[in-house]
């Protein structure tokens, strides 16, 4: 059964460093998303991406964040200068029509 994959599973970085989180959505899906979940809190929407552009973004998704679909398979989230409060689990999701399927997540720890 096709699934969303994410790499790495765990990323540790120093405050101020850039990180790139990678996702491979389900191959025939057209809509892509990033969410995050701070430990003990609910899952929060960051951004949606369709037709090679951002379709919606949340207040969290400020200028420090960017997304890209560099080729036909990968979907990346870049955080330019990480802050302590960026520590969270980041989930990628994709959908064909309605149901969104999530990847296993990348746990980002900012020291």
């Amino acid at each position: 059964e096709p699934e969303v994959t994410q790499t790495p599973s765990h990323q540790v970085t120093q405050m101020g460093q850039e990180v790139i989180l990678r996702c491979v959505p389900i191959s025939n899906h057209l809509y892509f998303y990033w969410y995050r979940q701070i430990l003990g809190q609910k899952v929060e929407f960051l951004v949606s991406f369709y037709n090679n552009e951002i379709s919606e973004k949340s207040e969290i998704f400020d200028d420090q964040f960017s997304v890209e679909r560099p080729d036909g398979s990968n979907f990346t989230l870049k955080i330019r200068s990480t802050k302590l409060e960026d520590s969270a689990m980041y989930f990628c999701a994709s959908s064909g029509r309605d149901s969104q399927y999530f990847g296993p997540g990348t746990r980002l720890t900012v020291l």
């Binding site: 809509y31 929407f45 949606s48 919606e56 309605d98 149901s99 969104q100 399927y101 999530f102």
Partner: protein
């Protein structure tokens, strides 16, 4: 209350019993989706119910949707220890585009063997 708020926050039952979790929301929706999350792991899609549907079944899962009350329930029948997880509802609101999901806080279900 917030969009996609689950109730109860925690539920503890014995194996074989049924578990019912509720979700309330505030705005008009296109659909509502239920997810399971094992501790520290990813979100597993369980079931989607559209705004024009009232009930859906999938294996031991039954989901209902009452758009007039802006609420949904997830019933897990004949629970197993492996059902122990957090369960979230997530709404796809009509006011947003491209399927942005709004999650609730979740219900922590513990099934004792």
């Amino acid at each position: 209350s917030q969009q996609g708020e689950e109730d109860p926050q925690a539920l503890s039952i014995q194996e074989g019993e049924n578990a019912t979790m509720n979700c309330s929301y505030k705005t008009s929706i296109n659909n509502l989706q239920w997810y399971r999350q094992n501790s520290g792991r990813g979100l597993v899609h369980l079931i989607l119910i559209r705004s024009n549907e009232r009930e859906k079944h999938s294996g031991r899962l039954r989901v209902t949707l009452d758009t007039s009350k802006k609420s949904s329930s997830l019933l897990i029948t004949a629970s197993r220890a492996a059902d122990t997880a957090s369960y979230f509802c997530a709404t796809d609101e009509t006011s947003t585009s491209y399927g942005k999901l709004t999650f609730g806080q979740g219900t922590i279900l513990t099934v004792h063997p």
